[in-house]
């Protein structure tokens, strides 16, 4: 059994507000194996972007990491010094942030932006070696070499996203966190970019944490999936198991939401409103909207338990498997 490359233990990220702390991420525990594709799915307000940033220790005030551990190959990213974390970012763990396309510098050529990050980490690398590496990276993300000299505005959305991907893999990190990498892209381009991401992942053996809200995308891309609701994990398991036999009522409703191309039917949603994180419901945070709520649900917060090997769920309907 390969050891986990990334272990998140009880991570808590809160936001400071005048009305008290807003618990955006409240005790998330998950692990990633080398070369694995893990999907973190959640709607807006679930805390997924907050979590992605926190894993890179990029949380900005009024957000702050209240506690927990983020172990990258044993190294706790929360506890190391500022210097250390900067060495780790991009080299060991890379982020393709949300809206990455707009974060490209509009006045720098593509090749300079890719080389920039590498130069910062490998200061001794000669110019020619950097150029070579840059061309290698472009080829890996299926971009033509002549794009190196272009500016971001000359590229389409899909291409810009591939450039961000190239930057993310430039130092061959162990983990890539992709936060909604295709949300602004058309569905045709989305498929192309995701297929490229898949190829890159296979050739480099890097682990990918895909953060998003599109269940269809998750089904097509990831191997294991975690469902996030109001800052807590509701369910974790292999993507096939979670889709075919979801355990948590929220997961079931979430999978039923996207309309199909098979036949016309009634639109399905989840009744009620997403919870106010400043004043969450007592007990299980999903219970006001849950179709299977019991009296216990409004009193006690369910903890994430392993009910089958590799299957975790936070719901009072299930008891822990006896090992």
């Amino acid at each position: 059994m390969k050891a986990d490359i990334l272990q998140v233990r009880n991570l808590r990220v809160y936001y400071q507000t005048s009305l008290g702390p807003l618990k955006a991420v409240d005790g998330v525990t998950l692990s990633l194996k080398p070369g694995e594709r893990f999907g973190l799915v959640g709607e807006s307000g679930s805390g997924k972007s907050t979590l992605a940033l926190a894993l890179m220790r990029l949380t900005k005030p009024p957000g702050y990491i209240e506690g927990g551990q983020v172990l990258l190959d044993g190294l706790d990213l929360i506890k190391v010094s500022e210097n250390e974390i900067r060495k780790v970012r991009l080299a060991q763990i890379a982020l393709v942030p949300q809206g990455a396309m707009s974060s490209l510098n509009p006045v720098m050529r593509i090749k300079d932006q890719i080389i920039d990050g590498i130069k910062d980490h490998l200061k001794k690398m000669p110019g020619s070696a950097l150029e070579e590496r840059m061309h290698e990276l472009l080829a890996k993300v299926e971009l033509k070499p002549e794009m190196a000299n272009m500016f971001p505005h000359e590229l389409s959305g899909g291409m810009k996203q591939r450039v961000c991907l190239a930057i993310a893999i430039s130092l061959s990190p162990r983990v890539i966190i992709a936060d909604e990498p295709t949300s602004a892209l058309d569905v045709v381009v989305q498929r192309q970019v995701m297929l490229t991401l898949g190829q890159v992942q296979e050739s480099l053996g890097v682990s990918i944490l895909l953060v998003g809200h599109d269940m269809g995308l998750m089904a097509q891309f990831v191997e294991r999936i975690g469902v996030l609701y109001a800052g807590k994990l509701a369910e974790v398991g292999s993507v096939r198991e979670v889709f075919k036999e979801s355990l948590h009522p929220y997961t079931r409703l979430l999978i039923a939401c996207p309309p199909s191309l098979e036949e016309k039917g009634e639109f399905k949603g989840i009744p009620g409103l997403p919870p106010l994180l400043l004043n969450p419901p007592s007990g299980c945070v999903f219970h006001p909207r849950c179709p299977q709520t019991t009296s216990r649900c409004s009193v006690k917060i369910p903890s994430l338990k392993e009910v089958y090997p590799g299957r975790w769920v936070a719901c009072h309907l299930y008891t822990e498997v006896k090992r």
Binding site: S44, E146, V187, M194, S260, G269, L273
Partner: protein
């Protein structure tokens, strides 16, 4: 059969740039669309970025004028309407915009967006009557007036704000509602109610719907017939079941194949479409716009844009692959090609 709202061979060209270097972008080319008066229908307009669907929406609302062709409402050209005709048009054709936050003036409570049309279109004779009207409209959508009125936009969720917009659109009992990506900025779990609301408006009140989106699946669920746009031109049009279950145009086929199905056992498959080198569209291409990405491209595709081939009683495709079928004129599509029912 008279059409309520129709676009006849509409072309829109945007020119930008200074005095010496004018750049012309063809946003829409020869697009025709027709919403009938007699039977309320739901027409889906599907296209990705650059397809021209936003331009089409703005043309149909009269915000901009077509470069060629005309947009008619009840037979009258939108650009030539008198003030009274304009008011009638504004009352009978309502819009739901994409962004549920930007449509609210942050200075006012959400009531403002409901009370203004009531006042301006004289829908009620007194303030109390107006208030009642608004409350009924909200309740018909499934919203509680006590929970929504009197609040500021930022105090409500995106789904609630969008539903208030639907209620606003229904207030004036319009003939047509133009919904421009009404649910794309709303969470998946909240989309259902809004789409059900729209469907109910069509079924219960006989309001025709023009549903503009890039999301093929919601378009499939709600529409009766569909228009597929690619880079400003219509590529396929007709009954929704035919177009989606048996797409004929290579672009439509690509679109349907690219949708990620939430079923891990049904994979996307590999993709054979070449990735474009850069953003600049093929200006020199005088033929079919899809030719550079089309796996079935033939020499004739580059020379002239294909006409509409009616391959079925209820569907037409603009592709030389179907050149054996009979040709149908663009603006006849709305009249003769429509939903099966």
């Amino acid at each position: 059969m008279t059409a309520l709202l129709e676009a006849c061979n509409v072309t829109k060209v945007f020119s930008s740039g200074g005095f010496f270097k004018r750049k012309e972008t063809v946003a829409l080319e020869n697009v025709s669309l027709s919403i009938k008066e007699s039977s309320p229908s739901i027409t889906g307009v599907v296209g990705e970025t650059g397809s021209g669907k936003t331009t089409l929406a703005r043309l149909l609302l009269g915000f901009i004028a077509p470069t060629e062709g005309e947009v008619l409402y009840k037979g009258r050209d939108l650009q030539k309407m008198s003030r009274d005709e304009r008011l009638e048009f504004q009352r009978e054709v309502q819009v739901i915009f994409q962004d549920p936050f930007e449509v609210y003036n942050p200075f006012y409570k959400v009531d403002h967006v409901l009370t203004t049309p009531v006042a301006k279109f004289h829908l009620a004779r007194s303030k109390t009557q107006g208030r009642k009207l608004i409350e009924h409209a909200l309740q018909a959508i499934g919203l509680q007036p006590e929970e929504t009125l009197g609040r500021y936009p930022h105090q409500l969720s995106g789904g609630q704000r969008q539903r208030i917009m639907v209620a606003r659109a229904s207030l004036l009992k319009p003939r047509i509602i133009l919904a421009d990506e009404p649910v794309s900025m709303v969470d998946a779990s909240l989309r259902a109610t809004i789409l059900e609301n729209l469907r109910k408006l069509n079924q219960k009140f006989g309001i025709s719907l023009l549903y503009i989106t890039h999301d093929l699946t919601t378009a499939y669920q709600i529409s009766d017939n569909i228009i597929v746009l690619y880079q400003g031109s219509v590529v396929e049009v007709g009954d929704i079941e035919l177009v989606i279950k048996n797409p004929q145009h290579p672009y439509t086929q690509l679109l349907v194949a690219s949708i990620p199905v939430p079923d891990p056992d049904r994979s996307w498959g590999q993709d054979s479409t070449p990735v474009l080198v850069s953003k600049t569209s093929t200006k020199l291409n005088r033929g079919c716009k899809f030719v550079d990405r089309c796996p079935f491209a033939m020499p004739v595709c580059r020379e002239n844009p294909p006409p509409f081939f009616q391959t079925d009683g209820y569907r037409a495709v603009r592709c030389y692959l179907y050149k054996d079928a009979s040709v149908i004129a663009g603006n006849a599509i709305g009249k003769d090609v429509g939903p099966k029912r």
